[in-house]
Amino acid sequence: MLMAVAELNGACAAALDSGRLEDWPGFFLDQCLYKVTTADNFEKAYQAGLIYADSRAMLQDRIAALREANIYERQRYRHILNLPLITGDADGTVTAETSFMVVRTMRDGQMMVFAAGVYRDRVQQDAAGAWRYAERIVVCDSQRIDTLLAIPL
């Protein structure tokens, strides 16, 4: 299981880091939950997210908006991922927690630790047998976002 989740995490991060944003929704099941929140919000069980999508189509819409609609300066991410900690494996659903760090590099070369936190994932196999996210809650350690959150974490 460890390798399956690690491979999924790695492929998903690589799509975001290399600018293949259109590939990113493909790592999720049709019916899924993707939420970006913070440790404070998570501990208080606040429901809202910085990004909140309850279908893969909403993830595709977010990428389309980033490409077609939204204005933000050119930037790229570099995800540094820990090995997943498998916290459950039952009835075809694997749960895992994976620490991440994202360094953001702006067009002028300015780099910063943009986010660090933990992915809290529920992973299942799709009809073709590929492991996909049924749920990915991105819990950022800091509640402060620098300027804007455009590319998903």
């Binding site: 429901q47 910085l50 908006a65 204005i71 976002i145």
Partner: protein, 411 residues
């Protein structure tokens, strides 16, 4: 250098409200004056929500400009506020965002304060073994953090350091007050809190909030999906003193609309794959899709369909600020309405489809004006006054901001 184009020496202010000299966003002395004249002046400042301090002993920490503040619920149920600064050496009295207790104790030398911020005990006041201690004439009642005058309106707690200034409702004005009551009409529930750090002077963000002209031009998402277009009905109101504004957008008319033909933001080909999150619930019994309301200097109330939030501006130096977002629902939300709020939270906030640009655009100005202390912005759309209008193709509300700023700054 052509002196004719350099007729705004640093420090001078042009007459009228249609020119904003750029040094005003960059000057450290201006920022210091804003702290004393605006943030510690006669205006009212959003502190927190009433539901943040529901019970006696509950507290929440907040900021008024650079000044740290404690808001607490006193024994008699009143919500009170005082400067978060120990009267002894100036250390913070409260170190956390929120909590609950019987009283407050500074960690440095254990001076204690009651829930109203009154100094109640000084450690080793009588010394130890008859030695040391405070002088006999030391009076605790003569020492304490500065206290604020507070008031609660629509579940919002506001405070001011000036005891004899205007009351909050008069400060806001009756017209905008109706708009505040329209949204905040029953018990609230916090559904998320986030902070966005913006690389700009705080005034640039508040101007952006009050700028009804930019929304459908900068924010393509707005325009393409007809959440707001200037050709939709709606308008802007500005209080007489310039302090408060509210802008509204009515539901989109049916049929084609070519008023944006050829502009970047007119992107008719862009379709949502999952349009379910735009199935807004009309929860306010009117046809207002969107309402943005602000109270000078730092409070914003947002209703974008069912996405409700309050935003608080906290300056962090001349070219940086924090924007504190509190996402809201009502305590009696149906599961369906709550689900819609969660989906529509994608519209606003640091990652919002229609507002992420606002996080960056102030920085674009701050960087653009880095060498332009002798130049000025042009704020002439819709004329020269700060009066409300039946259109949003105006900068009246931005001029209102400067009307309030100049009155409080005394310039």
């Amino acid at each position: 250098m052509d002196q004719a184009t350099r007729d705004l020496p640093t420090g001078a202010w042009p007459s009228g409200l249609t020119r904003i000299p750029y040094w005003i966003y960059r000057d450290a002395e201006v920022a210091r004056d804003e702290q004393t004249r605006v943030f510690e002046g006669p205006g009212w400042h959003f502190l927190c929500l009433e539901i943040d301090v529901p019970n006696v002993g509950d507290y929440r920490t907040t900021m008024i400009g650079a000044m740290p503040v404690v808001v607490s619920r006193a024994e008699d149920g009143a919500i009170v506020a005082f400067e978060n600064r120990c009267a002894h050496r100036g250390a913070l009295i409260c170190l956390d965002d929120a909590g609950s207790g019987k009283d407050f104790q500074c960690v440095y030398h254990a001076w204690r304060y009651d829930l109203r911020g009154n100094l109640t005990s000084v450690a080793f006041r009588r010394g130890v073994n008859g030695q040391g201690g405070m002088p006999d004439d030391f009076r605790m009642e003569a020492h304490g953090p500065r206290k604020l005058r507070t008031t609660v309106l629509c579940g919002l707690v506001f405070g001011t350091l000036v005891a004899d200034g205007p009351d909050l409702e008069a400060y806001i004005g009756s017209e905008v007050l109706v708009r505040l009551h329209r949204v905040l009409h029953k018990k609230l529930e916090v559904i998320g809190r986030f902070t966005q750090q913006l690389p700009c002077n705080w005034k640039l963000y508040m101007e952006n909030v009050r700028d009804t002209y930019h929304a459908s031009l900068l924010h393509t998402f707005f325009t393409t999906f007809r959440i707001t277009r200037l050709s939709q009905g709606g308008g802007v109101m500005v209080s007489e003193n310039g302090v408060a504004h509210a802008s509204t957008t009515l539901a989109a008319p049916k049929g084609p609309d070519d008023s944006y033909a050829g502009m970047r933001s007119d992107n008719q080909g862009f379709q949502l794959r999952d349009p379910s999150f735009m199935n807004a619930v009309a929860e306010f019994n009117d046809n207002i899709n969107l309402q943005i309301l602000s109270i000078f200097p730092g409070f914003i109330l947002q209703q974008i369909h069912n996405a409700l939030a309050v935003r608080q501006i906290v300056p962090r130096g001349v070219d940086s600020m924090d924007l504190h977002w509190t996402y809201l629902g009502f305590a009696d939300d149906t599961p369906e309405l709550r689900a819609m709020r969660l989906k529509q939270s994608n519209l606003a906030g640091p990652a919002g489809f229609v507002s992420m640009e606002d996080g960056a655009v102030g920085g674009f100005v701050q960087r653009g004006i880095a060498a332009a202390d002798g130049e000025a912005a042009v704020v002439e759309m819709g004329g020269a006054t700060a009066e409300g209008a039946e259109t949003r193709a105006t900068e009246a509300s931005v001029r209102g901001f400067w009307k309030a700023w100049r009155a409080q700054m005394g310039v």
